[in-house]
Symmetry: C2
Subunit: 210 residues, 2 copies
């Protein structure tokens, strides 16, 4: 396998991997046959050997993403510790706006207008939410508390790579993760049925810094 070796011929997975890259970089609208072929150094004659049509590429691309690029986290976090609270902390600290979930963001943008993408993303979101929810249940929280807190945890991660305002520094991001972990694992504030009777917890707090 020297550097000068003649280019090996492609598999369906080569196409999927490259298409997923293009999806992440430029969105589903840029996943066109000829440009991707060019990126692979072949022509579209190759494409129509491996796939029926573009529709099949798109469908298999979603399967490829769902099966090959969405399951890393559970293993990674579970391996880190068996304590649900520590697992949550690892999760909050580890899931950064870049890396793994660069694909997620693109699928999410795509899913807004394509029901096929939405179907796959729904499954993935549900699976992850259930995973985090189970952590809170294992900590002893009620079903409803676990539901709220898991959503709150997960939504923050989505916000981190969706909101385009100036993001916090890496240090601050980590600090935020730990503080969120603190608040999320603390017992629920009692008396939540009353809509909004308390007139601001304000002034009594003003000393807290850092």
């Amino acid at each position: 396998m020297t550097v000068l070796e003649k280019r090996r011929r492609l598999t369906r997975e080569d196409w999927l991997a490259k298409a997923l890259d293009v999806l992440a970089e430029e969105g589903i609208g840029a996943v066109c046959i000829e440009p991707v072929a060019k990126a692979l150094g072949v022509t579209k004659g190759s494409f129509y050997w491996h796939f029926e049509d573009r529709d099949e590429l798109v469908e298999r691309l979603l399967e490829y993403w769902e099966t090959e690029h969405t399951d890393r986290l559970g293993d990674l976090v579970a391996a880190d510790s068996s304590d649900p609270s520590e697992q949550l902390l690892t999760l909050l600290e580890l899931v950064t706006p870049s890396d793994e979930n660069r694909y997620d963001a693109s699928v999410r943008a795509w899913a807004r207008y394509d029901p096929r993408a939405a179907a796959h993303l729904t499954r993935v979101d549900q699976k992850r939410l259930d995973y985090v929810r189970d952590l809170f249940l294992m900590m002893g929280f009620s079903k409803e508390q676990a539901d709220l807190r898991s959503r709150w945890s997960y939504y923050y991660m989505i916000g981190e790579y969706s909101v385009l305002a100036i993001p916090p520094s890496d240090d601050q991001r980590l600090d935020f993760a730990r503080r969120r972990h603190r608040m999320l694992t603390a017992p629920p504030v009692p008396g939540c049925s009353v809509p909004a009777a308390q007139p601001a917890a304000g002034a009594a707090i003003a000393k807290e810094n850092a």
Copy 2:
């Protein structure tokens, strides 16, 4: 102005409004001149009278969105009360995944691959984050606490219309909003520098229900 009145001629804003609708429904990729013209009951001869080219439409569409469809909230919430804590509650209860922010979601998806859209969205996100941050500052929280809590508030809203897992019911959504408000306005948990020493708040909590 009877129902049978002959169709009035269009303005640039008519085009922008319709284009924004198409953007919300089918994404920026569907904002094409001829289809939008058809939706307006005219041909593209009209378009090229009101706009230089598609690029100008796109640019003005972003301006139109930013100036005409992103400022409602501040007024609405501020009118409701002058107490920052109550304003926050109104915000958390009021901002639903549908309505106003159907445009937001589309611009957000668009912004991922178009720097122009990203520039506008960044300003809007920053403005809103600052607004919420100010609420927490007025409540007496430190700068850092206000930063964390405002992001946590805002990110949840983004997650609400981004995450495609089965959403909670309307009642539960409102209940969640009130519970978040409770937790977000409560004083910070002390001793946050220690990474994760406490071995789960678990069993002691398990009685809480509803």
